[in-house]
Symmetry: C2
Subunit: 232 residues, 2 copies
DNA sequence: GCCATGCCTTATGTATACACTCAAGCACCC
DNA sequence: GGGTGCTTGAGTGTATACATAAGGCATGGC
């Protein structure tokens, strides 16, 4: 029984990653039935590793038992998104406070500069080709916070939230204007962390998440499943 | 693949529950090696359900991979306890705020009265026989908060924290004076929720958790593994 | 037409056998 | 004595066969 810590990729890991990616992208939509025989054949493995992957996905909330015989992809409606953002806000405010107290100022100074550059570049985030780079920058920010907080329990809880969040982003429509504004918001947060201002970092995070939620919900209300990129 | 939702108890569930209980009580201490062949024989099941139970325990942070071949019970030292309490504080303050806004005042009024009675009874919590009833009251409070918040993601995160907390309590020494004080603290929190005072509920929770952490840490520093009951 | 009961099929739960890999021990060389 | 390489046994990863139970369908009765 090995959660993968070496370079070797097991069938369990491959199945888990494949199913998670399909759930996040919407290829496996909310309510989709995951039957063992069908899924193991589709993924080219036996039922045993498939079952182990499903146990892990269930523990993380991505799949649920509809009945003793039916496992389905967990739902993600507006209420779920609001609930996820409520938890996200609690955890991220806690995390940026901790990062402001314990983090390496130089790392967050550099991140703040990168976010400022992303917010002011021309054409910058108006060009869809720049979005992948921007999401990589957000991932780098999340990783830096995760390192700075020095709290494995909190880091794990954040990872779960962020993994669910990928799915939410897929539901929302691309919105370049929002991306530009969010880059500015991120620059402010990273700057506050760099200066050790925990209160400013937490409040700026609150503002950022509120704006992100509004943007996502209006995008979803405006269209019933146009999924390209999300709006963080 | 079924997380148990019917009355039937599977071998996976039995193994998961048995191992979790042993980890929580310290019967399986931090660092204990969990070898599949040995554990499946000990629990009287085959390796397949044992592996599934271990996947779930790993996802929840109770066991970790020490190497590709060695699964061990996760550690829980002072740093871990501080980290757990930091996350606990973030989540529980979020939860009591939500409960104050969304909960049924009558439920929390009754809980506040029960906590007050526990704090003032004579001999009450000075008598060890009363402790099980008190912990049942705390479980009832936790369940009421979990129902009141109407946020599955947050409820799930709280459940994980509380499951880890059982283990911490086992490490700490019984402290009847602390129990009496904590009953008063709980009465104040439940009362604030009942009155819809989210800020008071959150701050009282912060005070309560700070006192609980101090009590636990001093208990652990005073003795290196006297495990009877904890001190919430 | 609706409801209850029984039977059969299929999906899940589990045991077991086989394949693969890790790590410990031993032998040899410098 | 220390380092390196090889071998072997044991532990994990997976496939498959068997056991069990859930659910759907058909039939009969009211």
């Amino acid at each position: 029984m090995a959660v993968n810590t070496s370079g070797r990729t097991t069938a369990v890991d491959r199945a888990y990653s494949a199913l998670l990616a399909e759930i996040q992208t919407g290829a496996l939509p909310a309510g989709a039935v995951l039957a063992e025989v069908e899924q193991s054949a589709r993924l080219g493995i036996s039922r045993t590793p498939l079952r182990e992957a499903l146990v892990r996905l269930a523990a993380e909330g991505f799949v649920v038992q509809q009945s003793p015989r039916v496992t389905v992809v967990a739902g993600i409606d507006e209420k779920d998104i609001r609930s996820l953002f409520e938890l996200r806000r609690g955890l991220e405010e806690l995390a940026v406070r901790a990062a402001a107290e314990r983090g390496d100022a130089a790392v967050f100074t550099a991140l703040a500069e990168s976010f400022s550059a992303a917010a002011t570049a021309n054409p910058g985030l108006a060009d869809p080709a720049a979005h992948a780079g921007y999401y990589a920058l957000i991932s780098a920010y999340d990783a830096a916070v995760g390192d700075a907080i020095r709290n494995d329990y909190l880091a794990s809880a954040l990872r779960t939230v962020h993994t669910h969040l990928v799915r939410v982003r897929q539901l929302a429509k691309d919105n370049p204007e929002r991306l530009v504004v969010s880059a500015g918001e991120h620059a402010l947060i990273a700057g506050a962390i760099a200066e050790g201002d925990a209160a400013l970092a937490a409040h700026a995070t609150h503002v950022h998440l509120h704006n992100a939620l509004i943007s996502i919900l209006s995008s979803i209300a405006g269209s019933s499943q146009t999924s390209t990129e999300g709006t963080p």
